[in-house]
């Protein structure tokens, strides 16, 4: 049973066509790594899943709910699909703990005590149990991104969307975020990850999708594709990111 299903999805920004009749089906438990040159539509594809971008054609069904079925249903989709952003986007007026407790309190309606309890456990999980009372501005980029992952997990999503989660980080801070993501994948979380981290794709990914010009041009097993792909454009792309 697929948890995300694109049916001839088209997305345009004015005159520019970003997604061209994309068909894609993702099953629960998959760790899909999305790669492609800048402007190929990979981030847009991800953002269509939780309806941060509205689709212009076709249909997109997430956990049996169409993104076209109205605002309240879209909110349900967003609760099922947690998102992690390139720029972290932590709430600056809240501590790390408050950031993580925010979703359960305001979205799931938990009491403050329950939400805080849960938030503490999640911060522990991402290795930041001792940073709960720090504000985002007092944390390193890697720590902020781990808090952001915990914040998304706090709403208990069924799948997680990662939009270039390590691109804004210094190389030596990336592995701490990737390690958390790997642990999450090992627990069986369904994940869709836009990234340039080929080592992550190889070790953790169960599926690699290469996008070009608004279309999926290669879709297959990461290890095989990264070793030798028949697609010359993918080969060329991989030479540049390695």
């Amino acid at each position: 049973m697929s948890i995300v299903e694109f049916r001839k999805v088209t997305k345009t920004f004015g005159e520019v066509v970003v997604l061209r009749e994309v068909d894609l089906s993702i099953n629960a438990g998959e760790v899909v790594v999305l790669i492609g040159p800048s402007g190929s539509g990979k981030s847009t594809l991800l953002r269509c899943i939780n309806a941060l971008e509205e689709i212009n054609g076709g249909d997109l069904v997430v956990d049996d709910i169409s993104v076209l079925s109205g605002r309240s249903q879209v909110r349900v989709i967003r609760q099922e699909a947690g998102m992690v952003f390139q720029q972290f986007n932590l709430f600056p007026q809240m501590t790390a703990l408050e950031n993580v407790a925010f979703g359960p309190r305001r979205v799931r309606g938990l009491s403050k005590a329950e939400a805080t309890e849960q938030a503490k456990a999640l911060l522990q999980k991402v290795g930041l149990a001792d940073r709960g009372h720090h504000y985002p501005s007092e944390l390193s980029g890697g720590q902020q991104q781990r808090v952001a992952i915990a914040r998304a997990l706090a709403v208990k999503p069924k799948l997680m969307l990662f939009d270039e989660p390590t691109s804004a980080l210094d190389p030596e801070l990336r592995h701490e975020v990737l390690r958390v993501m790997q642990a999450l994948a090992e627990e069986g979380m369904t994940m869709i990850v836009v990234t340039h981290e080929m080592a992550f794709a190889r070790q953790v990914g169960t599926r690699l999708i290469f996008m070009e010009d608004g279309k999926i041009s290669v879709d297959g097993d990461p290890a095989t594709l990264l070793k030798n792909s028949e697609n010359p454009r993918l080969r060329e792309f991989l030479q540049h990111v390695h």
């Binding site: 947690g82 952003f85 986007n89 709430f91 007026q93 504000y135 952001a148 914040r151 998304a152």
Partner: protein, 218 residues
């Protein structure tokens, strides 16, 4: 010419009474102005075309006309147009509400829109409705950015109350004018009036600075 302190001493009770009215008009007027300003500002920033147009028309109408004309309109023209009769105090307070509201609307709009759009997306991505995103996420960040320009507007509005001399409200400037007309001691009276205004605006500045310092600016 000799500066005669006894003139000030004699005038002080009346001047303080005027200052009290000035404070009353300012405080009540700004409280209303904040409500109107938030409403109009949010309509401008997030409203649909119709709400946006209504707020835009209101703001342009008020910013494009002098406050003296506005209060004259409320006090003299409204009774003729719509048979709404108001006393000078009500007219003065209404003028501040309407006038400050328009400027505050632009302050509110600007600070809400200045908040990085990633925060809005992060809130929406958690599954929150837009109003909760505004109340819990964007609002608190925007509010901190509003304090300096709001302080500016508060001081301008406080001083604008002096213009209500034209409809006969007994605020500070009017009191000074009346005493001066009786004793012709312009230097003493206007010095005292100016100092009383300075004390009021100074207090306002102090309150704003303390508020600003107590908050983490984001």
């Amino acid at each position: 010419m000799e500066f005669d302190w006894s003139v000030i001493e004699d005038a002080l009770p009346a001047l303080l009474g005027g200052a009290r009215l000035t404070i009353l008009i300012t405080v009540v007027g700004l409280a209303g102005g904040l409500v109107v300003g938030f409403l109009a500002g949010l309509m401008r920033a997030y409203g649909n075309t119709i709400l946006n147009a209504i707020a835009f028309a209101y703001i342009e109408l008020i910013r494009g006309t002098p406050i003296v004309v506005q209060v004259m309109f409320i006090y003299f023209a409204l009774p003729m147009l719509a048979d709404i009769r108001v006393n000078p105090m009500t007219a003065a307070i209404t003028a501040i509400v309407v006038n400050a509201g328009a400027y505050i609307a632009e302050i509110v709009r600007g600070s809400f829109l200045s908040v990085h759009k990633g925060l809005k997306e992060a809130g929406l991505a958690l599954g929150l409705p837009m109003w909760k995103v505004l109340v819990y996420i964007i609002g608190p960040v925007a509010f901190r950015r509003m304090i300096p320009p709001l302080g500016n507007q508060f001081i301008v509005s406080l001083k604008d109350t002096s213009l209500f001399i034209v409809i006969g409200v007994g605020e500070l400037t009017r009191q000074g004018q009346e005493i001066m007309a009786a004793n012709f001691r312009a230097v003493e009276i206007w010095t005292a009036v100016a100092i009383l205004y300075l004390i009021m605006t100074g207090t306002l500045t102090l309150i704003l600075r303390v508020t600003e310092r107590r908050m983490r600016m984001l």
